[in-house]
């Protein structure tokens, strides 16, 4: 009977139901186990703190969001442009590939202090670190997308004497679109990690800075409120990209997604 009830639960409600169950269990464990708030605060307390600390959270979120927005944008633009250039010119591809790989095999957290020395403690080093993290998955996936075009489609284009521009416009770019969106989602997650890491190294504002601050003063409830804020920001950004994908990607629109094979970056930090 419970089985059939579970089946009747609309699929859109499953995820919220599970989330609610986990939060309920968390609350229960904290109260029953009498766990100290600085070890694990109950979700109810986190919620209250989240509301109380809203002005602080907002002020610092603005800083972090600006870093993420600019760094992500820069990384995506650099990744897309480099991908098209490398796809068009094999010489450039051969020349740049080792260099691109080198930027990725260097741990970004090791570069972050160097960027602070070079570019100061302001916005610039942070958005550069984020861009450095973001451009790689975008570049690699776009390149794969452009090159993964069906050979028969190229033969079809040749059969009517199409120009290189027509081949890019009508076959290669549309083929790459699902790959590009997969890489944007990947890039988003590494952008958020990059922003937090950059703020840990040198900052006196931003959500990453708040995390360090609350952690060092054992204000664990506030720390959880910051984590909640980060989750909300990441979720909203993800939804925004998904909406963009629905609008622009034929694969998402048609629901034929076989899930574009995605090249994942190494662990970001």
């Amino acid at each position: 009977m419970s089985r059939s009830k579970l089946r009747r639960l609309p699929s859109t409600l499953v995820a919220p139901a599970v989330l609610a169950a986990v939060i309920g269990l968390w609350e229960l464990v904290v109260w029953l186990g009498d766990i100290k708030p600085f070890i694990l605060p109950p979700p109810s307390a986190v919620a209250v703190t989240f509301v109380e600390e809203w002005p602080t959270l907002m002020d610092n979120s603005k800083i972090t969001l600006l870093e993420i927005g600019l760094g992500f944008g820069l990384g995506v633009i650099v990744g897309l442009v480099l991908a098209v250039i490398m796809a068009l010119m094999p010489v450039v591809r051969a020349a740049l590939y080792p260099l691109v790989l080198a930027t990725q095999t260097t741990p970004k957290i090791a570069i972050a202090p160097l960027f602070i020395i070079w570019f100061g403690v302001g916005l610039l080093p942070k958005l550069l670190i984020i861009a450095l993290l973001v451009f790689f998955p975008v570049l690699i996936n776009t390149l794969v997308g452009i090159q993964s075009v069906d050979k028969s489609q190229l033969a079809l284009m040749r059969s009517v004497n199409s120009s290189q521009w027509q081949i890019y416009r009508h076959v290669r770019m549309p083929s790459a679109v699902p790959h590009i969106f997969a890489s944007l989602k990947l890039g988003l997650t590494v952008a958020i990690i990059g922003a937090i890491v950059a703020e840990w190294v040198a900052a006196n504002e931003g959500l990453g800075y708040l995390l360090i601050f609350y952690n060092s003063t054992l204000r664990t409830t506030e720390l959880f409120a910051v984590l909640l804020m980060l989750v909300l920001i990441a979720s909203l950004a993800f939804v925004a990209i998904s909406l963009l994908e629905r609008a622009l990607s034929w694969e998402a629109r048609l629901g034929t997604g076989e899930g574009a094979a995605t090249v994942t970056p190494e662990a970001a930090v």
């Binding site: 069906d150 028969s152 489609q153 033969a155 079809l156 284009m157 040749r158 059969s159 009517v160 004497n161 199409s162 027509q166 009508h170 076959v171 549309p174 034929w250 694969e251 048609l254 034929t256």
Partner: protein, 281 residues
């Protein structure tokens, strides 16, 4: 023997008057050879120098085992690959001229429809590239011709394999080419669908008469569809026989079971086996 009685073989270098009247899309393949150079410098003869002719509006099939170079030959005829030697002349002009004039329609084994375009837009696609876009009525006519009416707004992933090939054929016809090249178009379909598509193709060909070169590895399909069947052997890829199929048209589902039809298939099979025997065993 009934096989020989039923068949009248055409000499490969039959004296012809094709060169004299160049109207239509008669094809002249002259000493056409394709050699691939491997990465290690070895030469692979995909196609030994080959010569034959196809008359205007003739339906010719190329059959042979995998690796006999029939697709290579087809691609060379359509100027989709550059031959190592020899030439292809269509309607008295180099194949390249016909291709750049968008006068060659190609149908691949996989339908090669663009998944992000509807059937309607796929059919229109090539005419759009060629900057002579088809009128909506013309697209509907083509859809009706290939039996796709009511499916024009669908997307490729919503269609069965047979329906996708119908769309692919409509697309190939959209530019009203003089020559239609078909590379195992029904090879991936189940037998029942394939037989149905064979009949449909003959019906379409009856209405929009083109010169057709059709690659298949099914002897019965080749015999059923064609005016002539060119049997190929491998290592190196070469022509081993050129057989005229003298069965009356229009051919129907019953033609498949006619005794003469069976005799042709038996004979084609003998040629195929003699081609296999050509290599050292």
């Amino acid at each position: 023997m009934p096989v020989e009685a039923a068949a009248r073989e055409v000499q490969r270098r039959a004296p012809s008057d094709v060169g004299d009247h160049v109207a239509g899309a008669a094809i002249e393949v002259r000493d056409l050879g394709v050699t691939y150079v491997g990465l290690d410098g070895t030469h692979v003869h995909a196609l030994a120098p080959t010569s034959f002719e196809v008359a205007d509006r003739e339906f010719v099939s190329l059959v042979g085992p995998s690796g006999c170079g029939k697709t290579t030959l087809l691609n060379a005829i359509g100027d989709l690959l550059r031959p190592s030697s020899g030439s292809v002349t269509i309607a008295g002009r180099p194949a390249r001229e016909l291709r750049t004039a968008q006068q060659i329609g190609v149908v691949f084994q996989d339908s090669v429809l663009l998944p992000w375009k509807s059937v309607h837009d796929n059919i229109r696609f090539l005419s759009q590239l060629a900057r002579r876009p088809l009128a909506p009525e013309a697209i509907e006519d083509l859809g009706r011709l290939v039996g796709l009416d009511g499916f024009l707004t669908k997307y490729p992933h919503e269609l069965s394999g047979g329906m996708r090939q119908r769309a692919s054929i409509a697309r190939a016809l959209a530019l009203d080419p003089q020559l239609l090249l078909m590379d195992e178009p029904f090879g991936a379909l189940d037998e029942i669908t394939r037989q149905k598509m064979n009949l449909e193709l003959l019906r379409v060909w009856g209405e929009r008469r083109k010169t057709v070169v059709f690659v298949t590895h099914s002897l019965s399909e080749a015999a059923f569809l064609s005016d002539r069947v060119i049997v190929m052997g491998k290592r190196p890829g070469r022509v081993v026989a050129d057989v005229r199929i003298d069965l009356p048209r229009p051919r129907t589902a019953d033609t498949r079971f006619a005794p003469a039809m069976r005799d042709y298939v038996v004979m084609l099979n003998q040629h195929l086996e003699s081609g296999e025997g050509g290599e050292a065993t």
